[in-house]
Symmetry: C2
Subunit: 371 residues, 2 copies
């Protein structure tokens, strides 16, 4: 492979952090980095951003500041991030994942940014390139489920019009992610469909089902079968694989519904004096409920299929949430996610019957997402 995959060393994991990204920039990212360093004595950080904004961090232990003079704004078009702002914190942070000109190991093992998703994916693809055997990188995130665990869903909107081969690649990459970050061996994979039966769904989905079954027969993935939208929250499978359009709609629908329900709960409890007193009585319960569905607890989406590990924080993340994304990135790097994805993809592709190997589709159909 060229450039080489970063191999985390056992004693120190280095994260490069785009400190300017997101809605709040250093006022959120720096406190998060500080807390993260305190909690992880083995970790080292490369903090990227405007020198004056990061001045306080220059003195921190296990910390290097790398200056970048520009910032990709949340509403900057991808073209601007890609072609104009060549000294952006987003780009400089990603470039820490590249091998040196003489084959030196990359400076960082993983990069974290809360910047514009479309820009992050586009610049990451441009700088790092996709991994051998992968047509399209995917975005994977987690949602809470009834089993008090998380369901990993991919793709979340990096790709529209996915082919069956893409969905197979997502299944393999998602399995590697869950193994590395959640520590689960042989996690189960569900194919998102409109019914459980094999005959349900579009031609693409039916063909994807065939590919996933073939991969499962070769023990490359642990394929459960078709799942439906409600299975995401039931936790029927560890991983749910879908087209980026469908995954993005499902994620936004779920986020929107949670916001609406939280609004309903607030309205009902503040209706009159009696309901306000009830709210006081119910406060510990409501807080406990809030914690369970708190999106800050599962912040940190993985960009999978690149020749470097990239994690995306929500743009609106606060310090607690951004630290969560740093934690997930740290776990992924420490557990060699990049090598796992690489090895599992190669194994699976080599074992698949001829004619089923991945090839770049004519219609690459990348969808640029707003952050």
């Amino acid at each position: 492979m060229n450039p080489p995959v970063a191999h985390p060393v056992n004693d120190a994991v280095r994260l490069s952090v785009d400190c300017m990204g997101g809605d709040h920039g250093p006022s959120v990212t720096l406190p998060a980095c500080r807390a993260f360093l305190n909690a992880h004595p083995q970790a080292q950080l490369i903090l990227v951003g405007k020198a004056d904004a990061l001045a306080e961090a220059a003195q921190w232990e296990r910390c290097t500041v790398v200056a970048a003079s520009e910032v990709v704004e949340m509403d900057d078009p991808i073209e601007v991030a890609l072609r104009k702002k060549k000294d952006s914190s987003l780009r400089v942070a990603l470039s820490q994942l590249k091998a040196g000109p003489d084959g030196q190991a990359p400076k960082a093992h993983v990069c974290v940014s809360a910047g514009n998703t479309g820009a992050l994916m586009a610049v990451a693809r441009y700088l790092l390139k996709t991994m051998e055997g992968i047509d399209r990188p995917a975005i994977a995130t987690v949602m809470p489920n009834e089993r008090d665990g998380f369901t990993t869903v991919l793709d979340l909107g990096a790709n529209v019009d996915c082919s069956p081969e893409h969905l197979l690649q997502f299944a393999v990459m998602g399995s590697a992610l869950v193994s590395a970050v959640e520590g689960k061996d042989n996690p189960t994979v569900g194919l998102l469909n409109i019914g459980e039966e094999v005959i349900k769904g579009s031609e693409t989905i039916k063909k994807a089902g065939e590919l996933l079954r073939a991969a499962a027969e070769g023990d490359h993935i642990n394929f459960y079968g078709n799942v439906e939208g409600n299975d995401i929250f039931k936790g029927t499978t560890d991983i749910v694989v879908c087209d980026g359009f469908v995954g993005n709609v499902a994620l936004k629908t779920a986020e929107g519904l949670i916001a609406t329900l939280v609004g309903f709960i607030k309205q009902e409890f503040s209706r009159n004096l009696f309901t306000k007193m009830a709210a006081v009585a119910a406060l510990p319960v409501l807080n406990s409920l809030k914690r369970r569905i708190d999106p800050r607890r599962f912040n940190g989406a993985a960009l999978l299929g690149l020749r470097g590990l990239v994690f995306k924080s929500h743009g609106s993340a606060d310090a607690f949430a951004f630290e969560g994304a740093l934690n997930r990135a740290y776990d992924a790097a420490r557990n060699c996610l990049l090598d796992r994805v690489h090895d599992q993809i190669q194994e699976t592709l080599q074992a698949m019957p001829p004619g089923l190997t991945a090839e770049e589709s004519a219609n690459s159909g990348d969808a640029a997402l707003a952050a």
Copy 2:
């Protein structure tokens, strides 16, 4: 047109009811019909099912019992409903919407069933045929939104791989539905996408956006633009149009999330003596909240684009929910939904630029849904 569209008379709306459909059959449908008749002095019912099961209803005023010797079970394959059980209550109830052999008006203005969705759609298509200008009938349902109203979403899974033309037809039919049932003039239409910008989404969605804008320029629909999953619950538009695969995933995701959250709330309030006391204090608030998200309140999905009006109740509906479906069906018939859909489709298609008129797609791709 042939067969003729049913024109509801002013003084009496006649509903045919598949009394055997759904998980509970007559034990739910008969009490619902009884309550519905009491509330609607202008309504007449044609109750279809096994004679002995419907014996008590034979004496009711404004009520006719029509015997059907068979029942389509919830797990019967579509083939069985279509080719084997030719005297099923589902089929006989639908046949009340057909014109007589000498052009007599149909016996009923609208049909309601809680039976298997796939079977209902297939038999309805076979018996009634699709309306002129419609390639594929769609299933439309409503979800509650933050504006204390409902958002109508279609298609919900009758069709996968929809073309731009299909999405335009859904927009027109959905507009007619909301005008007729909710009494809203000129309801707004959103196109479900992964971003608000015109350039977002798959080629199909971008082309659909063009068609919808053209239809809006001709004042045939009130097109808002692209919407995202969270806009369904925000109530950004009255209608959200999408491919049946995407709509089905969004609906199931929302239903699953509500079920999970209700489970979380119950768990948290029953954790210990203190939380149980808090639950008692909060009971009126919780009940009020429950009422707002109660799926029984928005039961009754419309099958649109057929030469007859058909409403589908949830299979698990209780009498309250089934009565809700009867109410929606009654409002639709009373407000001439069938004529509205027909007229608006013809108007829109005639006005669209050449090359944009609908044509039957080679890949009809119907998806049979479980009930």
